[in-house]
Symmetry: C2
DNA sequence: GCCAATAGGGATATTCTATGTCCTTAATAG
DNA sequence: CTATTAAGGACATAGAATATCCCTATTGGC
């Protein structure tokens, strides 16, 4: 059970977009080059962000992506769900219905107890991701990344932002 | 990103095994029939439980599986990890290393900030599963399941337990 | 108006995992 | 001795993840 690598890509891309000056856009090409990713496939992840309304896009040269909200208004969960989907990790196939002792036509009400517990764990996972904002990530990165690298990366991005 | 259906199977099987009288065993065949599952494939899940030390097995007619510990000493996490594995859902491919601004040979220390956050969410998921015991499940099921069905299921299992 | 670059998205190929089946081996109860 | 079991290896199938390619409409700069 692994998350798509696109989730990782989307998070890194959002971190970059968070540093973009207001009103400017960064293209898939630039994001792919910066992260060493296949441009066409990364594009699918970015389309996911776009369809979820997390980013705005514009066409043409100088076109690309920018965040649709402030980094403090974007959670990890928003980004993860935009790419990975909102479905739960535990799928209940209701195998209790196969119990040979079950009276014919009998139907238990409500979801299986096992599913309820597994779904609570899924919700704990989501709740954790919901509690972390993109702005928190940027703050952490600004401490983690050496000042020189941070600065040169910012300039690299600005050079390519339309 | 879905858990294997084997996880669901293993949890249901453990719930049944929890009701088995001390010293008796229940076969794959009986567990598969009770849940309407393919016997050979369910066997793989049960082998996972066995390898993790959660159940004991014995061979021959009257052979099968029984819990290796009391239901209060078995957590959902134990069972889930025995079947699904212990790996995290988020795989960090360290794409920050592709940053074109990076000095040659430069190597950031420690895991990426994004990975750390995603791993915290994974840990929240595990922590929730760790907090639920098999005995909790049995207690819930005993309330959920109509008394008649509970009783007849128990007898069905006892008939087949070696 | 024209050209180049862009996002969007459909079609297709490839690889990997999950799912499921089949068969052999060793152990065990009756 | 026989029937039944768990363990596990080999193999087949289905579906998802991971790409790649191509076409379309839009847009900015000339």
């Amino acid at each position: 059970m692994n998350l798509k690598s696109q989730v990782e890509w989307a998070l890194h891309c959002c971190a970059i977009l968070a540093g973009l000056p207001e009103g400017r856009y960064l293209s898939t090409k630039a994001l792919a080059e910066f992260h060493g990713l296949p441009k066409e496939y990364l594009s699918k992840a970015l389309q996911g962000l776009s369809q979820a309304g997390l980013v705005n896009t514009t066409l043409g040269p100088t076109g690309g992506y920018r965040l649709a909200r402030m980094p403090a208004e974007l959670t990890f969960l928003d980004i993860v769900e935009a790419v990975e989907g909102k479905s739960r990790t535990f799928i209940c196939n209701d195998i209790r219905a196969n119990n040979p002792c079950r009276p014919a036509g009998f139907c238990e009400e409500g979801p299986c107890a096992i599913a309820r517990i597994m779904w609570e764990a899924d919700e704990a996972w989501r709740e954790k991701l919901r509690s972390v904002k993109l702005s928190d990530l940027v703050e952490t990165l600004s401490k983690d990344i050496p000042r020189d690298l941070w600065k040169s990366s910012f300039e690299w991005v600005l050079d390519r932002a339309g």
